[in-house]
């Protein structure tokens, strides 16, 4: 019995390892072009993500927003914030991401892109 079990152990372990190695590649959702489409996240999903990943979810959206603002203005986010400060607006991580959180909480039907655009209207008008 023992010999039988021992003779099975090695093949069973190798089979298990090979099945793990040949696991399906993690499929990306269709239409995302290889990376997750942060701006397409509905606000009601964002509201749930915030609960279990508060810091990471905020950081994710702010990083996405920085790219969006850079594409719109050609300025880095630090430059945009500096312009805002010159105009008397003071922003930090909490107030910037808090804007997204409040926007999405108020309108769960919207997309996170809309929250980014809404913040942009405050920031970019000064910076242009």
């Amino acid at each position: 019995m023992n010999r039988f079990i021992k003779s099975l152990l090695l093949p069973a372990s190798l089979t298990l390892l090979s099945t793990i190695a040949s696991a399906d590649k993690l499929m990306l959702p269709p239409g995302m072009g290889g990376v997750p489409d942060i701006g397409a996240i509905p606000c009601d999903v964002f509201n749930k993500m915030i609960v279990v990943g508060p810091l990471g979810t905020k950081r994710l959206l702010l990083t996405w927003a920085e790219g969006y603002y850079h594409a719109k203005t050609g300025k880095t986010f630090d430059e945009i914030l500096q312009d805002a400060e010159t105009a008397g607006q003071s922003w930090d991580f909490d107030s910037l991401t808090g804007h997204f959180v409040d926007y999405c909480a108020a309108d769960p039907e919207a997309h996170t892109a809309a929250a980014v655009v809404d913040l942009g209207e405050r920031l970019l008008n000064i910076s242009r």
């Binding site: 023992n2 696991a23 993690l26 499929m27 996240i41 279990v52 990943g53 508060p54 990471g56 994710l60």
Partner: protein, 316 residues
């Protein structure tokens, strides 16, 4: 109390004989796991995410103080209960809440998303992604117990037999009276929970098993293994126990293996609703579970004990 129980311990109880002791211990364990989930959710909800991390430091420390009392005791039954409760509390606070702090707050991880368009928050929260990464550490601990000649765990003894280690390791240097069941039960609770969580996390991980046929096959295998494993342990061993303390320690493993393969996989496949993590939506149901759990605890506390469980033989 000890005298009263000893007086009651005639060995002629019509109720406390196999299979009642084992069945009660098994049911108690299933309710304990469900209520452990409920406790986590409620504590997080009541205390708030920011404060729970600080509170968990002290709840964990209080559990170690409780364990200290257990280790000092010579009563095996008391040691077993204390080891189990302290293990459960330390797992929830120093492990789960600390992982939660690192994953959610310190490292800024986002939850794993699933669903056809990747826009559904899956149950794999940041703390579980951190936990999945501890698999190597867990394996190292399992290696230690596999090569430990003093272990009395049937699974590791079986490993030792299959690997032909018995002769090399030699006879155990410890007798039953040398063992402190508080720390043994404490470590057993933590390792069983750690093992079961890790198996589930690896089997649910789309980066390892994808989301298609392999995912299905691996999880079907988990259901099969845990059904056979827990079924064998339950029918071949647990229901034949007469000693409450032994049954309780054995039920920790049997209950968790059953939960890992049947309840968790079934939940993943959406076969039923996890009412234990939504207590505010299922107040009556969870109150019934809590009531049943308390009744089972009382039953086990007042069940007749053998003198060896109460430390009478050990003191002499």
């Amino acid at each position: 109390m000890k005298a009263a129980v000893a007086k009651n311990n005639t060995g002629k109880s019509k109720l406390w004989k196999p299979p009642i002791v084992g069945i009660v211990a098994f049911l108690l364990m299933l309710f304990a796991i469900a209520l452990g989930h409920t406790f986590m959710v409620l504590v997080e909800h009541w205390i708030g995410q920011d404060d729970i991390y600080v509170a968990s430091i002290f709840i964990g420390a209080a559990s170690i103080v409780l364990l200290w009392y257990g280790v000092k005791s010579r009563n095996e039954n008391f040691q077993t209960w204390v080891g189990f409760i302290a293990g459960l509390m330390v797992w929830m606070t120093w492990i789960e809440f600390f992982y939660m702090f690192y994953g959610r707050m310190n490292w800024g991880m986002v939850p794993r998303m699933d669903g056809p368009d990747g826009l559904r928050v899956s149950g794999t929260y940041p703390e579980y992604m951190v936990m999945g990464a501890t698999v190597g550490l867990l394996m190292m601990m399992l290696v230690f117990y596999t090569f430990d000649k003093d272990t009395r765990c049937n699974m590791f003894l079986w490993f030792q037999k299959v690997l032909g280690l018995r002769e090399g390791l030699g006879p155990s240097t410890k007798k039953a009276s040398d063992r402190n069941y508080a720390i043994i039960t404490f470590m057993e609770t933590i390792l069983v929970l750690w093992f079961c969580y890790t198996v589930n996390l690896l089997c649910f991980d789309p980066g390892l098993v994808g989301t298609g046929d392999l995912f299905f096959a691996v999880n079907m295998a988990t259901v099969f293994v845990s059904f056979v494993w827990s079924g064998y342990c339950f029918f071949a061993r647990l229901i034949w126990f007469r000693r409450v303390s032994t049954a309780l320690r054995y039920a920790i493993a049997v209950g968790n293996i059953f939960w890992m393969g049947i309840v968790e996989v079934g939940t993943k496949w959406r076969l039923w609703t996890e009412i234990w993590v939504q207590p505010w939506n299922y107040k009556i149901e969870m109150s019934v579970v809590l009531g049943a759990f308390l009744v089972l605890i009382l039953l086990l506390i007042f069940a007749p004990k053998k003198p060896s469980e109460l430390g009478m033989e050990r003191q002499s």
